[in-house]
């Protein structure tokens, strides 16, 4: 997928001014936040988060050994394990598999890695018709391959009227206005694809080392279709998605659906192992796993290893005041919200996504709800540090911080500047408690007011305290 993260500021500004988007995001926020809060009430949340963190750490800390074990078990059951260093290699491997099996049409269940790789365009170039089957992803695909704006609710930015217009135009049927009718129309359109495709492509929520299985979590049933009906099934997942045992899956399945959609369990949870057995009447005859690096391996053993625990539930973006205000498109790549603000710079280059680690209020809502306890604000702060160390921050900001650092080492001068500063800010507030336009840095108050200081500086007040 094309990277547009460097345009964050402009796109975030436009999104924040978009009233229609704001109302959609507000509705979604209510549903996701309340849904999660209700759903976690019947489990021991903190103990389950801690156990989930431990499971994911155990996998990551011996990742090479778990992957070897997974490969051995998956191969023993008739799967073929392939490895891809980057998106281009994913595309090449999938195109090769399609060619080998004479594939004309591939049905796809949601896969964010396929977005990372831009797989649909590569499939088309190889003469294979890719069909997205998750309702949200399908809507995006028929709308000229629009990018998703949320990792589990890809069309969160669209109203039902927009979808109704799109369906009427693309399907050539009478315009439906009721969401249930629109869903049925999409079901009917996609049913024929399900029954006629020769290849199914899915992501994988987890890989199980013990059994060489892939675990898939879906609600619509499209994941089951994609992995049951075509003769070839290709799983594309990151190398970090491995977990040790089926018991670990059971633990993670208590926290993933609750964190994601507020469900105690997702509709369908499938653990898929090997190819169709000789006596079976359904299931794929060929099973491929493509285990992908694409930037993940470089996070091992460094400041950002915690990020490899991520199970892609989207709780961090659902609870983020920045995401709730600007939606997902402004982030400019596959992953929005706090997890995207960390992953995008790490995957596409820190210099290509300079604003993302700053797209945070540091309120730590994301850290508090993360089911695997990733310290997201801390990771964003580390990315900011790296920007400073690599001199990637703008000249004005670097100079201002240098000046401040010098001043902070000269206490009496600092006191004087602070004193003048407070008087200046009070003057800007014109006796009120808010500053509408910040004189020296007007862009600070473009979308908000700045609170005026209460009165004197701390040091002035401290000097005047009653002596005992």
């Amino acid at each position: 997928m094309q990277i547009r993260s460097m345009h964050f500021k402009a796109r975030a500004g436009a999104a924040a001014a978009d009233r229609a988007l704001q109302s959609k995001l507000a509705t979604a926020k209510g549903l996701f936040v309340d849904g999660r809060r209700r759903a976690v009430a019947d489990i021991d949340l903190e103990a389950t988060r801690e156990a989930s963190r431990a499971i994911r750490n155990r996998a990551v800390e011996n990742l090479d050994l778990w992957l070897e074990r997974f490969e051995q078990e998956a191969t023993r059951r008739g799967g073929q394990v392939l490895w891809a260093r980057d998106g281009a290699e994913i595309c090449r491997l999938v195109a090769d598999i399609a060619r080998r099996h004479g594939v004309k049409k591939a049905i796809k269940s949601k896969s964010m890695l396929s977005e990372e790789a831009g797989l649909n365009a590569a499939l088309e170039a190889a003469g294979v018709q890719p069909v997205e089957t998750d309702l949200g992803e399908y809507i995006l695909q028929i709308n000229d391959n629009e990018p998703p704006s949320h990792i589990i609710a890809p069309v969160i930015h669209k109203t039902k009227e927009e979808v109704a217009d799109l369906f009427a135009r693309v399907h050539g049927k009478p315009r439906k206005t009721e969401i249930g009718e629109m869903t049925r129309e999409a079901r009917e359109m996609l049913r024929t694809h399900f029954l006629s495709a020769d290849m199914g492509i899915s992501g994988g929520n987890f890989l199980v080392a013990e059994t060489g299985s892939v675990a898939l979590v879906t609600n619509e049933g499209n994941g089951r279709m994609v992995t049951t009906l075509p003769k070839v099934h290709v799983v594309i997942t990151g190398v970090e998605k491995v977990v040790p045992t089926l018991e670990d899956l059971a633990t993670l399945m208590r926290i993933l659906p609750r964190s994601a959609t507020g469900q105690s369990i997702s509709n369908y949870f499938s653990v898929l192992t090997g190819v169709k057995r000789p006596e079976d009447t359904d299931g794929p005859e060929h099973l491929y796993f493509i285990l992908v690096d694409n930037g993940r391996v470089d996070l091992l053993g460094g400041d950002f290893q915690d990020m490899l625990r991520c199970i892609r539930c989207a709780a961090c973006m659902n609870h983020c005041p920045v995401y709730q205000t600007i939606g997902g498109h402004a982030y400019g790549w596959v992953y929005p919200g706090p997890m995207g603000s960390v992953l995008t710079p790490l995957f596409v280059g820190i210099e290509n996504a300079l604003d993302l680690p700053h797209a945070a209020t540091m309120c730590n809502q994301c850290g508090v709800v993360c089911p695997v306890k990733i310290p997201l604000p801390e990771l964003m702060r580390k990315l900011r540090e790296q920007q400073v160390e690599r001199r990637l921050r703008p000249w004005g900001e670097r100079t201002a911080l240098g000046l401040w650092a010098w001043l902070a080492r000269h206490p009496s001068l600092y006191a004087l500047v602070a004193k003048l500063g407070v008087r200046y800010l009070n003057w800007l507030a014109e006796g009120g408690d808010r500053i509408r336009v910040m004189g020296v840095a007007p862009s600070w108050t473009d979308g908000r007011d700045f609170p005026a200081p209460e009165g004197r500086t701390f040091r002035e007040l401290y000097a005047k305290r009653p002596k005992t």
Partner: protein
């Protein structure tokens, strides 16, 4: 060009500081972990498993009718079909075709479902009380399509096969099947989507309705 597998694995080893010695300890650790099969924290199990299963199933928009014996199932299915004005023809798992369906006025074929079948009747491998979930395994006589392609899925669930949680379901598979079958599907209510305006719609790509016939004495 270096082989991708070797390239990725050797970079992982390097970044993890892998040496011959710590590989030996690491392997011992993963064997121990696989041997322990440690469970995570679990919600307190309710004493009445069957009641919990039924209540959770209904919360997930499935419907439940309780009968005493397997032989009572065809009449219960016929009642459900009549009440919902559904066609009187269905596909079923082969192990179920021996029941007296025609006596209940239904035509039931024992085969995998295709895109035109409107009702699929299945059994279960087991069911999970904690979440109100049906567990079906793929196999020659238990095609995965029967619970997926038709608009209505009807499942016969013996009360004795309701286990407390997913952990016990996996233990039961290991005990009774040895290795995992190709597909282990946990089904929790009719298929659904909330993609358009986060409004919940039942019946996305899979069934619109899931009806459970609970076999109390089985």
């Amino acid at each position: 060009m270096q082989d991708s597998r070797e390239d990725i694995l050797s970079r992982i080893r390097r970044r993890l500081g892998r040496t011959a010695e710590n590989a030996t300890t690491g392997r011992a650790e993963i064997e121990a972990c696989l041997g322990r099969r440690e469970q995570g924290p679990r919600p307190a199990a309710e004493a009445d498993r069957v009641a919990r299963f039924c209540a959770r199933s209904e919360a997930l928009s499935s419907t439940v009718e309780e009968v005493a014996r397997r032989e009572d199932a065809p009449a219960a299915v016929a009642r459900y079909i009549a009440a919902h004005d559904l066609p009187r023809a269905a596909v079923a798992w082969r192990q179920l075709v021996g029941l007296d369906w025609s006596g209940a006025g239904l035509q039931v074929a024992g085969r995998a479902a295709n895109g035109d079948d409107l009702i699929g009747i299945t059994g279960v491998f087991c069911a999970v009380a904690e979440t109100g979930t049906l567990l079906v395994l793929s196999g020659p006589d238990t095609p995965a399509t029967a619970s997926l392609l038709p608009e209505t899925h009807i499942a016969l669930v013996p009360a004795s096969r309701i286990v407390p949680g997913m952990e016990e379901a996996f233990t039961l598979i290991r005990a009774e099947c040895g290795a995992l079958p190709r597909a282990v599907n946990f089904i929790s209510g009719p298929s659904r989507t909330g993609d358009i305006e986060q409004t919940l719609v039942l019946g996305a790509h899979g069934p619109y309705r899931v009806h459970i016939v609970l076999l109390r004495d089985c």
